[in-house]
Subunit: 324 residues, 2 copies
């Protein structure tokens, strides 16, 4: 195979860069004038892109649409909103460009993060950490007797990909009743997959609603006033997908009225929320700053995942985490 040029626009540290360079040798890395510092950031157009056979990072959409050489783009995030358009899909199909993402890299951390949310809520950690209730006082008894056990509770997962698959494994010892909503049912999910028509009934019974939906035209404000009102009163809502999938004003209303018991969000729109945003001051709204996928060794794992796919590409084997 000829010498390939791999355009990389994401700087993950010197050790990771060395790992990447050695991993692709004798093929060549090429770089833009300006690197981005996070797998989540958007890169700008760069003329060097025209030479690339492969792109790794957050390649600019306009660059891809102008490329005559590109055959494969590997996105360093799990989210791929800006590529998820009819125009881009048509271009990729016409020019045989494969698109893969890094969802495998983040699945474990994301699943641990959302389960940390679930357990912190169930065990009332925000209310119980640091309080000095004396044994057998009314406030102590109240704290003790209001923590629900997870066993046999009901869960609705919105969006079924790598994170949901891993979350199901983690939830298995709790014998929870889990169903998921996804756009295309494959039949190998291992749990009941529900349609949009079945969603209201499922939401009405769920103790936990876990949103892992990606951002796209269909998912915009998916969690609307209507869907929030379909949920069981006091249900707990989690979002580790994308902030745009939630009508945040409706969410604030539901949290204020007690329609939702609490919300645990790792993603918002925008990020971070501006000072004074209503969600920031609600005592039953818990927000982490888009860190669910983060973990020790993240950069090495990102590179390792790309390199594994790179070897498959060289071997003309099917790529993993393929989106298009």
């Amino acid at each position: 195979m000829k010498n390939l040029k791999i355009f990389c626009d994401t700087f993950l540290g010197n050790a990771a860069l060395k790992q990447l360079r050695e991993g692709v040798a004798p093929h060549e890395l090429i770089f833009p004038a300006e690197m981005v510092n996070s797998p989540l950031a958007k890169s700008d157009p760069d003329p060097a892109f025209a030479e690339a056979d492969i792109a790794f990072g957050q390649p600019d959409v306009a660059n891809i649409l102008q490329s005559t050489r590109l055959k494969w783009a590997h996105i360093s995030s799990a989210g791929f909103t800006r590529y998820d358009t009819p125009e881009f899909r048509a271009f990729a199909a016409k020019h045989d460009i494969q698109l893969t993402n890094s969802s495998t890299v983040y699945a474990e951390a994301c699943a641990e993060h959302v389960f940390a949310f679930m357990l912190a809520q169930a065990r009332h950690l925000p209310e119980s950490l640091g309080v000095r209730h004396k044994n057998a006082t009314p406030e102590w008894l109240n704290l003790r007797h209001t923590s629900p056990l997870l066993q046999h509770q009901r869960v609705v997962i919105l969006g079924f990909g790598g994170i949901a698959i891993r979350l199901l494994e983690i939830l298995r010892p709790f014998h929870m009743n889990v169903v998921a909503y996804r756009r295309k049912v494959r039949g190998d999910e291992g749990i009941p997959i529900i349609t949009a028509a079945e969603l209201p009934d499922a939401l009405a019974e769920a103790d936990h609603v876990i949103n892992i939906l990606p951002a796209n035209a269909d998912s915009q404000n998916f969690i609307s006033t209507e869907r929030l009102n379909q949920m069981k009163r006091g249900a707990i809502f989690y979002n580790i997908g994308r902030g745009t999938t939630v009508d945040q004003e409706a969410l604030a209303v539901a949290l204020r009225s007690g329609q939702l018991g609490a919300a645990w969000l790792d993603v918002t729109e925008p990020e971070p929320l501006p000072e004074g945003h209503p969600l920031l001051s609600l005592p039953n709204c818990y927000i982490t700053p888009h860190v669910a996928g983060g973990h020790q060794g993240e950069a090495e794992n990102l590179i390792g995942h790309f390199l594994k796919n790179f070897r498959r590409y060289l071997d003309e084997a099917p790529l993993v985490d393929r989106i298009m």
Copy 2:
């Protein structure tokens, strides 16, 4: 069988009392002059005890030692420190008194609680909840890249009973390396059981040290300066056993120096800690007020557990959660 008298000193609510009364009928409940309001509280001596065939709750030790009728005491807590003396054990053995506890009732909640601690620590929830770091800033990257995945980390469990058994089931999807220390090895634990002599080496490698030891003469200050110094620097310590098993001054020193990364405690000595206690102001010490075993339905589950054992008692079947 003759009509039995069941002394109950713990008031768990009117619904639970009705459940208990109906469950033991036609046998008779008898009560002390003063009920205790929590399964964890200690009851006082009461003359009515002399008539009891069975005691359920927190029966006073002196009452038991004077009883000529008692055949079985079922403790409403998991802890049984005040019965765990050579004198009491000898008396129980001589008079064929069986002692059972309620550890089964609390195992699920305790295991969920300590795992909530583990995940909150791993996902850095105390540092990340409510902070508004912007994507790709140094503080954001630091938060993202310092969360360890649980996968393949090392755990030492101190004390191996119902909680540890349940915790092992919960940890299974994470493929952690778990060993436990217990006084008497049975061989059916399913994980390596280590001796006191092997403990220093195990502590030196553990990322997580989970203390579930009961309080007794052997376990007093088990977590000493020496054992804390045997741990790997930065290890995380959890205590859901009893506060007396930890030298709290030594713990504060280890937390201040960074020898321990953090401590998550549901139990302290005393409870609550007095205002101004050093552990209360350490930023890497997280304390909940002895609520690990608490859960929705706790009273009903306690009564249900007793009634299940009561039927076994009537059938002369072996009692569950038997201690003596």
